[in-house]
């Protein structure tokens, strides 16, 4: 038994490490001729080994210069943790003292990221959306990135997976799953009252979903088809986008907004923050799951 595990670990480590122990496909001369580096003008004056060394020294010196400059800069910066630093100004004062009154969430950070500086955060959700789209461009199965060999291998993997005895995994997941989901939903819904919010809650939910997929693959795959993924993602982003348009438009034009602050500290309070957290959380959860699915299978 122990030997088996050891053997498996050795194999595991071997393939993980495989890249480094690769048979050289490129001769050193070619390597040298093609290496783009800032010391090209020294070409021919140095041997391969020396050139490598000079390049390393150059990099290290550059890095040291950077680090040194920044360290010296620290000397001239305001003291760490000191009260009365330039950052403690009227901006912070309003965020802290008026935040609850103006926006309504007792977690002051969610006031800032979702309302005061809501545009940045919408941009950030778009970054996540873009990354998911990029991963789709790169990894979604098509004739360019998948060969017959890949398909055969994936089929083999699936076979191994179905044979494998996953009793332990399944019973552990059965116990853990409710806790993870509950925690994720709690973090999501209480984003305006306690630490957390859309992104962290969504990431927890996504991680739970990935775990669940590993134990009971079929069920999740049947639920999270590509259509469902697109629907959740687009619906969440639309909701977020149009809410933001409404908030910005009414705010900037001085119109009356129907969004109130509610009673601070209650779960249904702080206006748009909780709905947006839910939307962002759903988007993040399914994006994380989509990352996982495209990375491992090339499809949802």
């Amino acid at each position: 038994m122990t030997k088996n595990i050891k053997e498996r670990w050795r194999q595991f480590a071997a393939w993980v490490n495989g890249a480094d122990s690769d048979t050289p496909v490129v001769t050193p001369e070619e390597k040298r001729a093609a290496r783009p580096h800032p010391l090209r003008f020294l070409h021919g004056m140095l041997s391969e080994k020396n050139e490598m060394r000079v390049y390393h020294i150059f990099s290290v010196v550059m890095c040291l210069v950077f680090t040194g400059t920044l360290l010296l800069t620290v000397l001239y910066l305001p003291t760490f943790g000191g009260a009365g630093n330039p950052t403690e100004n009227e901006v912070m004062e309003r965020y802290v003292e008026k935040g609850i009154e103006e926006v309504g969430a007792t977690n002051l950070i969610s006031n800032i990221i979702l309302v005061y500086r809501g545009f940045d955060t919408f941009g950030e959700s778009c970054v996540l959306f873009l990354a998911a789209t990029c991963v789709m461009i790169l990894l979604r199965k098509d004739e360019k990135n998948t060969t017959a060999y890949d398909l055969a291998e994936r089929a083999e993997d699936a076979e191994i997976e179905s044979e494998e005895n996953t009793t332990v995994l399944r019973s552990v997941v059965r116990m853990l799953m409710p806790v993870i989901l509950l925690f994720g939903v709690y973090v999501l819904l209480n984003g305006h009252l306690s630490p957390g919010g859309g992104f962290s809650g969504g990431a927890i939910l996504g991680a739970g979903l990935i775990l669940f997929e590993n134990a009971f693959g079929e069920k999740v795959r049947r639920f999270m088809s590509e259509h469902v993924y697109h629907f959740i993602k687009v619906a969440a982003l639309y909701f977020y986008g149009f809410t933001m348009i409404y908030v910005f438009f009414t705010g900037a034009n001085g119109l009356h907004s129907i969004i109130g602050t509610g009673i601070p500290g209650m779960i249904f309070s702080a206006g748009v923050i909780m709905p947006i957290n839910v939307a962002v959380g759903l988007e993040v959860a399914c994006t994380m799951y989509a990352f996982y699915a495209f990375f491992s299978k090339g499809e949802l």
Partner: protein, 501 residues
Amino acid sequence: MRPFYENLPFLCIFLAMLAGITTSILHSGKWALRISLTALTVIGAASAWLLYATASQNTYFVYAMGKFPSPWGNELRAGPLEAGLALVFCIVMACSLLGGLKDIFEDILPGKQDLYFVMMDMLLASLLSMLYTNDIFTGYVFIEINTIAACAIVMAKDNNQTLVATMRYLVMSLLGSGLFLISLALLYAITGHLLMPQLGESIHALFVSGLYTEPLTVLVGLMVLGLSIKSALFPFHSWLPDAHGSSTTASSAILSGLVLKGYIVLLIKIFYRVFSISEVRSLKITNVLFVLGALAMIMGSVKALQEGHSKRMVAYSSVAQIGYIYLGVGLGIEAGVVAAVFQIIAHAFTKPLLFVSVGALSSTAGHEKKWYYLRGAGRRCKLAGIGFTLGGLSMVGIPLLAGFVTKLYLAQGATLAAWQTAAALAALAVSSVLNAMYYIPAIVQIWSSGSTCQEMGIEPRVRRADPALVVSVLVLGVGVILLGVCYRPVVGVISAGLALL
């Protein structure tokens, strides 16, 4: 209730984003294209309206995103300069898409064409945000969006070269963003603000009182370094030829014409609104930019001279043209920056014209991209030949074309500069000669009779210009000529916009 046109910048940005989000569920390249073009038309029209409204009253406005004004909430700011550049960006992006349309549908797999247009819409949204933003952290977020979208449109062609080029581009870009973020952290630490008007006031106060001079110098250096890595200023340009030379036609055109410019416009905005041009000059950072710009003008052209691959040659010529912009900024005076912004516009029209034409020319020789095999290509696709000739001559600096006006204004600015006059004039002269040395032979090659691509076993074929290509070359070509002939109103808007910054 403010006048409606003041809502336009914000609505344009959100329209572009929502167009991108909608496009991602269409599963159809044709419809994605239609949505993108519609969004571009609407945004272009809105920008034109905005330009008219702000330029006619010679005014600008700030637009709080939400209830909370300047030091607390995100803000946009729009004046003639921003609106004009937004209009140019929309026109150029639409023309590049139309000009490279055939290649997009050939190069990209049918199942993924819609995703390409998602990237285009997001790229537009991020460019607009970088133009309009009044908040430096919003600038950072949209720089990241721009980076990811730009990398995605490079790799969309999905062959080996583009994947490798994307990796290099991505690593360099992320290094640039990291440096920008660290300089932003320093800026926040010494001022406590992120919005440009308040930052400007605090920085001015720091200059007067002489506090925090060292961090200020370091942070300006890091910020300039980060943005110049991303906009391929000379020693950091190594990723550019691969990325711009290997991707599909429309991507190359947009990357060279617009994406690089987005970062430079942001840099100019920071120079004007956070610092002031005299403060930047007193930090000596303009001198560095001047030297690097001059070197880029010459080294980019020298590299282009050695290049036999048509798209890579045009890409190297971008390095030289970016050098012109930085040379203008590096003069450290108003006139130099006006010339730099004019060059941004001129190059935004000329370079896509060149890329679109080269794409069409090479399609007459079985997509072979070496100059040697493109002999006679201009005779087989006359429209593209004319487009390339026009663009090439503009780059060389023939009067009545956009490139000439840039050189004129740069030279004029140089005569007013403190110490740079002689060096700037010499760099301009050398660079013009070098430009002529590679563009003229290329033009001669495409108009010569006969063809050489049979040597590769490719039958030369005549390409009849499709309507999309006609529109694209026509609009870009007319743009180049108009900028060369009636440049006075453009320069007027630029100087008015810069004065308001």
